[in-house]
């Protein structure tokens, strides 16, 4: 008899714990997606929960692709997203709001034997295309018009991600068209390119610069983009010295778009959850003051207004 009662009590307990109240569900926000937006979203969540202690925000990073897949399948309330939204995705009912701007930058090893030439001449968009997409430049000798100076080892991201999507759209193609050895994850790619003197790759700014010191991480060097294609890096094209000067160039749109890019929150249709809408509105208004300190470029004012209007 006693055991029976215990079993019934246990069963009731399980049933009760299984159903959470409606308000609890309403106040819990699940977010997943891009690594690029993760640090800022964590910061936002911390500050927002200080103001609204009843809200619980769960955030997991797993790449822009995962954010999109999770949102479309309904496993999370909102995704963090770090590349242009494709027409197919808009067709599926994706709703988005831009929050801030960061950039993908081409990288090489600090031990690259042609470092001086690269820093002085830069590489043009066409040359990047020939290195990453068509493969018609395969030797570092192209810098000095010599042959057989060392094979260019192209590294790219293996996982579906915003950095690769953005870099590909700069080169007018898609992630699947980027040639090269596929490495898993942004930290892995930064590690691989800094170790191999002949390598070239691209990274999120957060993995090239140390956010606290504003300096480049040891072993990694940025390839300056020859924006005006005159074969040399002019003083106004040389803004890679510190994180601060790079972000300034991105915000003044000296650095091209893409590989500079907007970072988004995405949901499936305009959010119906009021708590989620409130959070998104807060990130677009009061939340914007945390953007610069976290290492991102704020959106221009008129765009913020546009996105804010989308939420109503």
């Amino acid at each position: 008899m006693k055991t029976k009662i215990t079993i019934y009590l246990l069963a009731i307990g399980i049933l009760i714990s299984g159903c959470s109240t409606k308000s609890q569900k309403e106040n819990t926000l699940n977010i997943s997606g891009a690594f690029a937006l993760y640090p800022l979203t964590v910061k936002w969540a911390e500050e927002y929960q200080k103001l609204h202690p009843e809200i619980r925000i769960n955030i997991s990073a797993g790449g822009a692709g995962k954010g999109m897949a999770d949102v479309l399948s309904g496993t999370v309330d909102m995704g963090m997203f770090s590349r242009e939204i494709e027409p197919e995705e808009i067709e599926k009912g994706i709703w988005w709001a831009g929050l801030c701007i960061d950039a993908v930058i081409p990288t090489i090893s600090a031990d690259n034997p042609y470092l001086d030439e690269i820093l002085q001449k830069g590489i043009t968009r066409d040359q990047f295309r020939m290195i990453f997409v068509t493969g018609s430049i395969a030797d570092w000798g192209f810098l000095t018009n010599e042959a057989n100076k060392g094979i260019i080892e192209v590294y790219t991201r293996a996982d579906a991600c915003g950095a690769a999507g953005t870099w590909a759209s700069y080169l007018d193609c898609r992630q699947e068209d980027l040639k090269g050895i596929g490495i898993y994850g942004d930290p892995g790619l930064a590690e691989a390119v800094s170790k191999n003197p002949n390598a070239i790759a691209y990274n999120n700014t957060a993995y090239v610069y140390d956010i606290n010191t504003g300096q480049k991480r040891p072993g990694i060097e940025v390839v300056p983009i020859d924006i005006n294609e005159n074969g040399t890096i002019d003083p106004e094209e040389n803004f890679y010295g510190s994180f601060h000067s790079l972000l300034a160039a991105v915000s003044e749109e000296v650095y091209p778009y893409p590989p500079a890019r907007e970072l988004y929150f995405i949901t499936k249709g305009l959010p119906v959850k009021k708590s989620l809408l409130d959070f998104i509105r807060w990130t677009l208004t009061d939340g914007q003051k945390y953007v610069s300190d976290a290492g991102y470029v704020p959106e221009p004012g008129e765009k913020i207004v546009k996105y804010l209007n989308k939420t109503y």
């Binding site: 797993g62 790449g63 822009a64 692709g65 995962k66 954010g67 999109m68 897949a69 479309l72 399948s73 494709e86 197919e88 995705e89 599926k92 094979i151 080892e153 293996a158 996982d159 579906a160 991600c161 898609r174 992630q175 699947e176 040639k179 090269g180 050895i181 596929g182 490495i183 898993y184 892995g188 590690e191 691989a192 170790k195 191999n196 390598a199």
Partner: protein, 295 residues
């Protein structure tokens, strides 16, 4: 009293049968689900085009799985070539020649190796094997390699499979009666001859099945291989170049799946292929075991 006994008996045997049915039907259900999900793919390409061509351009709707199948087999076979002889010889040594103390020490060591998460093997591969291949192994063979390669995948996979194969081989050799070996020794056979003609011959079906299970495990391993294999879609017999095995394809592109039309079907089809190939590997080894037991 008697009645409740029979009821219990029937009930419990009913439970057992139904749990067995569940276990047996799961792989079948998985296969059917994957096949249904991948059918949209067949509307544009025939089965032969899918598994026999090597052009991979998802956004243009062209899916050729040959490079992935090829890389999967290549990595698996390389790892098998590395692991199988090592496992066989160490299992023989541990069961037939080593002091009992050594085998009691080795047992927990093997279990610990088997319990290490695959991501650790992957990191180890990036830190040790990849630089080793690009700086030592490739120049030794007069070629160049970025390090991230089929060979790196094979080596990491071999190390991961060793504990499994070794454990099964040791168990197999343990079951050979000591009397058989003693009889061979008393007839004048040397230690090695007794192993070769008695122990190995007696346990041949066990050896084959442990190799088969090791191969199937290697074929499906994802994370560690994905971290070192280079993930490039190419059909290249050079083991110093990168490859792209099937499990890595699924894991890497899971996120893109819902954005590009028919991509989800393609990934489901990749999973289906993986399932079918592993089933075939198991069936082939079943056949070998059956043959070996008959002899």
């Amino acid at each position: 009293m008697l009645k409740t006994g029979t009821v219990w008996k029937q009930l419990s045997s009913g439970w057992m049968v139904s749990s067995l049915t569940v276990i047996l039907s799961i792989p079948f259900l998985i296969g059917v689900a994957l096949l249904i999900k991948s059918t949209p793919l067949f509307s544009s390409q025939s089965l032969w085009q899918l598994i026999g061509t090597s052009e991979w351009a998802p956004s243009e709707g062209r899916f050729g799985f040959l490079p992935f199948i090829f890389s999967s087999f290549y990595v698996t076979i390389l790892s098998f070539l590395f692991a199988a002889p090592v496992c066989l010889l160490s299992a023989i040594y541990l069961t037939q020649f080593a002091s009992p103390r050594l085998s009691t020490i080795m047992h927990p060591v093997i279990d610990i190796l088997a319990g290490i998460p695959s991501v650790i093997y992957g990191v180890w591969g990036i830190l040790i094997i990849v630089p080793f291949i690009s700086q030592v192994a490739a120049p030794l063979f007069g070629t160049t390699s970025p390090g991230y390669s089929i060979l790196a995948g094979g080596i990491v996979l071999a190390v991961m499979c060793i504990p499994y194969m070794l454990n099964m081989l040791i168990e197999t050799f343990r079951t050979v009666p000591v009397g058989l070996r003693e009889a061979a020794l008393s007839l004048g056979a040397t230690g090695w001859e007794s192993v070769k003609h008695v122990v190995i011959r007696k346990s041949i079906s066990g050896i084959i099945s442990s190799f088969g299970l090791g191969l199937a495990k290697a074929f499906g391993e994802t994370l560690a291989v994905m971290m070192v294999v280079g993930n490039m879609v190419r059909l290249d017999a050079n083991p110093f170049q990168a490859g792209y095995p099937l499990p890595a394809l699924i894991a890497n592109n899971y996120g893109e799946m819902l954005s590009i039309p028919r991509y989800d079907s393609a990934l489901m089809f990749a999973a289906f292929l993986l399932l079918v190939i592993i089933l075939i590997i198991n069936l082939v080894f079943r056949y070998f075991i059956y043959k070996a037991q008959k002899v």
